[in-house]
Symmetry: C3
Subunit: 347 residues, 3 copies
């Protein structure tokens, strides 16, 4: 019996963020990724280690234990595991080889990058061919960064679609007195590649209100691209001329088919100083996320009540169907074909 897969699709050979670097300190941390209960701890030297969160001896969670000199000690009988998942101590045992294979804990590759602890989704792969996704502009001194972590009750594809969906913003985030008459028509080019999809929005007016003012006090031509990168990255990128550049990158970690961890990194370069804008970014993002979180949780609940999804899409659902298709192909190993189409949208 191996770890339990979630009821939905499982992404193989994928990197997901388990936690932030700051969350993994001197005690073990339990995180579930795609239905697999994992325990994370820092081995000798501080390198993150991810093991199946079940002691091979009597199946208690290893995350109940303690880290001693870079080894994870089970709280029940004191068995110890090193950064390779090897069993290195069975207290009380006389005259016997301790590190039998059957006593080792299942291990997942883990990397610490950009302030996050990433874990690989397939056990026993020591050196995955590809490394984790890298967040853009983190080392560029012209950019400021705001990070936030959330949890949302949603499937991975529903959470990603929501993040990259344009039309819902006028309703879910728009307030009650929007004026549907003031509609601009914009052109959208949608491209699907082997492991990503993106939408380029042409003719989009500058955002109004507080967000618009923060992005470009003087206005300007908007370049807007939304992207999905397998298996878990949603990216919204805005440029207004040369001076304003905002990239909101969200990494989703599917806990199960019903919930995701959300790690959001907003990186921005603006005509106004970063320290001036910073206090506004997080509250706005938190409010928007809160509204999305409620909607996604109700969507998930209703889909479960009805026994499954029954979506009716229009061309306004620009990236959602592409995301679902890429996730399905990636999970099942189907070949992906490149694709491009255009559409028009009123905003």
């Amino acid at each position: 019996m191996s770890a339990v897969p979630p009821p939905g699709l499982v992404q193989p050979d994928a990197w997901f963020i388990a936690c932030t670097s700051a969350q993994l300190r001197s005690t073990p941390l339990a995180v579930t990724v795609q239905g697999r209960p994992l325990v994370l701890f820092r081995a000798r030297g501080g390198a993150p280690t991810a093991l199946t969160d079940r002691c091979p001896h009597r199946n208690v969670p290893l995350s109940m234990g303690a880290v001693r000199a870079g080894e994870l000690e089970c709280a029940y009988h004191g068995w110890r595991f090193d950064g390779e998942g090897q069993c290195v101590a069975v207290p009380g045992l006389v005259d016997a080889e301790v590190s039998l294979k059957s006593r080792c804990a299942e291990r997942f590759a883990a990397r610490e990058l950009d302030g996050f602890i990433w874990v690989h989704s397939t056990p026993g792969v020591d050196q995955p061919e590809e490394g984790p996704f890298r967040f853009p502009h983190l080392d560029d001194g012209h950019y400021s960064t705001v990070r936030r972590e959330f949890r949302v009750e949603a499937s991975l594809h529903a959470a990603v679609e929501n993040t990259l969906d344009v039309p819902h913003t006028a309703f879910l985030h728009g307030g009650l007195f929007r004026t549907p008459e003031k509609k601009n028509v914009i052109d959208v080019v949608v491209q699907r590649h082997a492991r990503s999809a993106e939408a380029h929005f042409h003719g989009e007016p500058a955002p109004r209100g507080l967000v618009g003012w923060l992005l470009a006090p003087q206005g300007g031509v908007v370049e807007h691209v939304d992207r999905f990168l397998l298996p878990c990255i949603a990216q919204v990128e805005y440029r207004l001329g040369a001076k304003s550049h905002v990239v909101a990158t969200t990494a989703f970690t599917p806990v199960s088919d019903d919930a995701c961890l959300v790690f959001a990194v907003v990186t921005y370069k603006l005509p106004v100083p970063g320290w001036l804008v910073r206090p506004f970014v997080a509250p706005v993002a938190t409010r928007i996320f809160g509204q999305d979180a409620v909607m996604l949780a109700r969507q998930r609940a209703q889909v479960k009540r009805f026994g499954g999804e029954k979506y009716t899409s229009t061309e306004l659902d620009v990236l959602g169907p592409q995301v679902t298709r890429l996730l399905k192909q990636s999970a099942t190993g189907e070949p992906a074909e490149p694709h491009e189409h255009t559409l028009r949208m009123k905003t």
Copy 2:
């Protein structure tokens, strides 16, 4: 994938009360009937409308939305639905036919009668052959009416049986010091028709205590009939001579196999003025209902623990077996045969 049926029997072509007229105001209302999540709202002109509570677009509950000019607007992307369930707006869509069939919401016939909103159990039937049940004497100025709404954790047949069951009243509602020695023997005639069953009780003494005094201060001959009318009406009728007439009609709405909404209407004509009696009726009914609700909930829980019902009936279970038989025949389309028998009962 259609709406999800409850685990038990489903009554086709049936009218159930979804809510009272007063409960359906300017916001949408979520109600589950026989396992189907419905959203109710008042369309243009105020007529009640019932749709499956799932937006065809992204499956969020339409009951999260708002009613705008008699149209139900989804809270996620602003799709709008009219009183026919037609999709009449997809905000952002350019140059396209909005009201495609795939975008319509599943609709259930709804009627507003006697202060209640009734919904039909089969989707897509615009004009059901039969209308909803009408409560008796509501328009007769000689009668007073008391209404109450409850919810009970019980299957439909168990809730109906409880309402029409005589022997339990001496125990569940009787107090600890009843005197079993004082027993009258009465005759009961039980009749089952195609879509109803009734029991006539002959020789019943006038009720004692507060209830008895309210019904007939001077006593008199009791005429007592209990009725079940498919699919959901339980009626207890008492006459004491020409001056006292009480009809307690209860309409049950099966939310699922585990719970019912209960809409009780007590209509009465008494020798004493209605305004004098009125303050006593509701408290007594509430107390009795509370005791029944606890018992039914425990019964339901125990039936589930044991994996199903295993009833042992006696002839004192006058209408319960008839109710179960009628509900089963109605749900499965079996033909019903008329039946009559008599029995004697000590009370």
Copy 3:
């Protein structure tokens, strides 16, 4: 449809403690044993009676009812059951035999012994061949006794193994600063018989700390035997010379595969007066039990998350595998073979 068995193994023809004598007073008591909901009450004369906790009439819990003159009266319609489970009253019934077989409640043999109410696991067995387990030394004036009742979220075999497991004590109950270097090597002889297993520990040093002092202020040679007696008794026995003798006997009652009632009886004879020791025994036992209860609950939860147990044992798991084997053989009727082996353990 009979009572529902638990998801795991069911022990046939077994006695389990349902409650203490003091817990069964003048009202009926609901207890679940191996997944069967039972109602206990004292029949005429005070003898304990155990029936399936479901009225044969309308399936409500009989434990909602009342005991009247040694008969259990159902709270719904007043049916009455005597100490044999016979239906002796159906109020309202005219001219009919009340005690039909179909109206009787399923009965389980029950005995009151040593301050506990024991029930037999197989319904309808009036006189089981074997009686319940008897706790040792309760009538010996040289011994003192402390009793405690708990509930633990664990399967029967995991709870018993925990009680008889030696190596975990240094970790789960040991504190953070134990010194693993000070290790004694002891010899253990393990014997499995037809319906029991036991381990004799030779060369064990006297326990240290408070427990050690209570057992033998002057020290001495330790005789330590751990025992499991089918189906539910775990016993830890310590002797230090002729003056100190402690027997901790624990009777487990499997409520379901996920939870056990725990009835612990510690009987002891010590060089110091019993009243002096008594105040210390219960707090120490409560603390140890609390730590075990947390661990067992987390173990149970993790086993369920992973869809089952996947244990890796060493020879230090002295009695656990024997307990599991005996429980399985007893549940399935497999023949048991005697067995003996020895091992060495550092403590």
